[in-house]
């Protein structure tokens, strides 16, 4: 659904911008893993596509608020970073498929890099509410780019931090720390949101331990609602067939071992409908 939200507060959180927006309809329907798309640039803007942003938090205040955490990267997110309290924002959401939650109270490791950590917190709350044990591994290039360390420490059994420059926690990447965290916590499942390369490594580690891994991917999106087909990546279906599926509609959450990370950005030759390939082998 589409909502005209009012900005309630704006904050800087380390290297990131955080916007809390009153958006009742979206907050109500939200489940962990959902994202929203935001129109940027105002009424007469030359920016025609919306920006996809994960929902970091929802609260029931003011009928329902959503909080977005983002990096000012290009012109659209730079415009968003300039929003102030009482400005209005045009949001569409909640979009995408949320994280599946385990039925039993299992041990879960949540892995986040950079702003990818933001969407793991409502997931952690939902897992805790089901009696799961939650452990965090959060990372970034430097200390100011590790999002949510304090909150993680408050709610999780253990929190492991990594930075590439060694300015906070262990020096290295989240995937360097992950194997020992999985072993120490006897994890049953891994959840992750991070850049594609990191998700690939997180998936590889989880597969070594033979535990399921759910990843939230990021692909360049024009519509966010499943109509334009710009956000696709190769994913193996239940039937073993690789398809170019939409990150916005079939994702952004996928089972890690189903995503062909090494083939992202290509059309694998055996994908359904690949040029001269897959299509012919499928009846």
């Amino acid at each position: 659904m589409q909502v005209t939200g009012t900005v309630l507060t704006t904050r800087r959180v380390d290297a990131y911008h955080a916007l809390t927006v009153v958006a009742p309809g979206i907050a109500e329907r939200y489940r962990p893993g959902h994202f929203v798309s935001v129109a940027v640039g105002g009424g007469q803007t030359s920016m025609v596509t919306r920006r996809a942003l994960s929902i970091h938090d929802v609260k029931s205040d003011y009928g329902g608020t959503v909080e977005l955490v983002f990096t000012a990267r290009g012109p659209g997110t730079a415009w968003l970073a300039e929003r102030r309290a009482r400005d209005t924002l045009d949001l569409v959401g909640p979009l995408g498929r949320p994280f599946p939650l385990p039925r039993d109270p299992v041990h879960c490791v949540l892995v986040g890099a950079e702003y990818g950590s933001a969407l793991l917190f409502p997931l952690a709350d939902a897992l805790l509410a089901r009696g799961c044990r939650v452990d965090f591994v959060l990372g970034g290039t430097g200390a100011e780019r590790v999002f949510g360390a304090m909150r993680a420490r408050r709610i999780a059994e253990t929190t492991t931090l990594t930075t590439e420059d060694g300015s906070l926690g262990l020096r290295g990447k989240v995937t360097d720390a992950l194997p020992s965290v999985i072993a120490d916590t006897r994890a049953d499942a891994v959840y992750a949101c991070a850049p594609m390369e990191t998700l690939r490594a997180v998936t590889a580690v989880s597969m070594e331990f033979d535990i399921p891994v759910q990843v939230a991917v990021e692909e360049s999106m024009a519509c966010g609602i499943g109509v334009c087909m710009t956000c696709v990546l190769p994913v193996i279906g239940d039937d073993g067939v690789t398809r170019m599926v939409r990150a916005c509609a079939e994702g952004p959450v996928f089972r890690g071992e189903r995503v062909r990370f090494e083939d992202v950005g290509t059309i694998p030759f055996d994908a359904l409908g690949a040029p001269g390939g897959g299509a012919r082998h499928v009846s």
């Binding site: 920016m47 025609v48 596509t49 919306r50 692909e219 609602i225 334009c228 696709v232 170019m244």
Partner: protein
């Protein structure tokens, strides 16, 4: 006073002139989560191909000033899945559906037409001519009047007479009127324009083309003047041919421009990415603009900008005659 928004695409009546542009609304289901598709004049599907197609590698999209580039490459499940799952879904709901087809050879277009000829729920057939002709060194059908005409003649001979065949034209040609004329002579009941002109963007961080496919189709407000020009030229040359105007329509005023240039149906594409409700808003805004200018019928505005300078608008003449005591 409400304005009569009904329009005719050839002999098929549509409740209003707004349709989705091919490839910008998939096959309808996603938009149906936002609003009742019956409120569209018609839904145009993505271009259906014979075999499933995986399309082009990503990135497939780049935002550009007042527009975007796309290189999707007609990704879709192919005609079998379309006939099995997508078309029946639309047909059962009674949604007016313009089915778009794309192919690489004349035979492929003919075969698609044959498969669709008896399928219930095809309101009109739009032939996407912006595909490379694999039998002719990859030259795009829409760029050659004769190649386009060959496709249209073949499709027209196969489709039932009561299903209009619409030829969709590309703007980046030397003479769009001659391509339009060739298609009409070959039996096209209507024309739709414009498909995406070809563009390119370069990522100044990566120092590489922004799209994996290097070039892509430009859409959005940046191409509205191109669409208005094409509709104008073709309506001037072929005033009796119904035109679907497409390209950069974001508002009712944009749609109104295309109508005044000669379009009786208006397609909305990229605006849907910005606003899933764009079709409804544009229809309402167009109706408001017509009403504010004293029009009682949309039909009276079609091609109106072509009247000689200084002459009174037809609809106002009729009005004043009627009100004379």
């Amino acid at each position: 006073m409400s304005v009569d928004m009904r329009t005719f695409l050839a002999h098929v009546e549509l409740a209003n002139p707004i349709t989705t542009a091919a490839g910008c609304a998939a096959s309808g289901r996603e938009l149906a989560q936002f609003f009742d598709l019956h409120r569209l004049g018609a839904l145009t599907t993505r271009s259906i191909t014979m075999a499933p197609r995986a399309g082009r590698p990503t990135p497939r999209m780049a935002e550009t000033p007042s527009g975007m580039l796309n290189a999707v490459g007609l990704q879709g499940p192919g005609i079998d899945a379309f006939l099995e799952r997508e078309l029946p879904w639309l047909a059962q709901r009674g949604i007016k559906t313009i089915v778009s087809i794309g192919g690489g050879t004349v035979a492929e277009y003919s075969e698609l037409a044959r498969r669709l000829a008896d399928a219930p729920g095809v309101t009109a057939l739009e032939v996407n001519l912006s595909c490379p002709n694999i039998e002719d060194r990859g030259r795009v059908f829409a760029r050659e009047g004769s190649a386009a005409a060959e496709v249209i003649a073949s499709v027209r001979s196969i489709m039932r007479y009561d299903v209009p065949v619409v030829a969709k034209l590309a703007p980046d040609v030397a003479d769009i009127v001659s391509v339009a004329r060739a298609c009409v002579d070959a039996g096209a009941d209507a024309l739709s324009m414009i498909n995406n002109p070809l563009g390119m963007a370069i990522d100044t961080e990566a120092l590489r083309p922004s799209l994996a496919a290097v070039t892509g189709g430009l859409s959005g407000p940046a191409i509205l003047p191109l669409a208005v020009r094409c509709v104008w030229q073709v309506h001037a040359a072929l005033p009796g041919v119904p035109l679907i105007g497409i390209g950069g329509v974001m508002s009712g005023r944009d749609a109104f421009q295309l109508v005044l240039a000669g379009a009786c149906v208006v397609g909305v594409g990229t605006a849907l990415f910005h606003d899933p409700y764009a079709c409804l808003r544009i229809e309402r805004e167009l109706e408001d603009l017509l009403r504010a200018r004293g029009f009682q019928r949309l039909a009276d505005a079609v091609g109106l900008a072509h009247r000689p300078p200084g002459s009174a608008p037809r609809h106002l003449l009729v009005d004043s005659e009627e009100s004379t005591p």
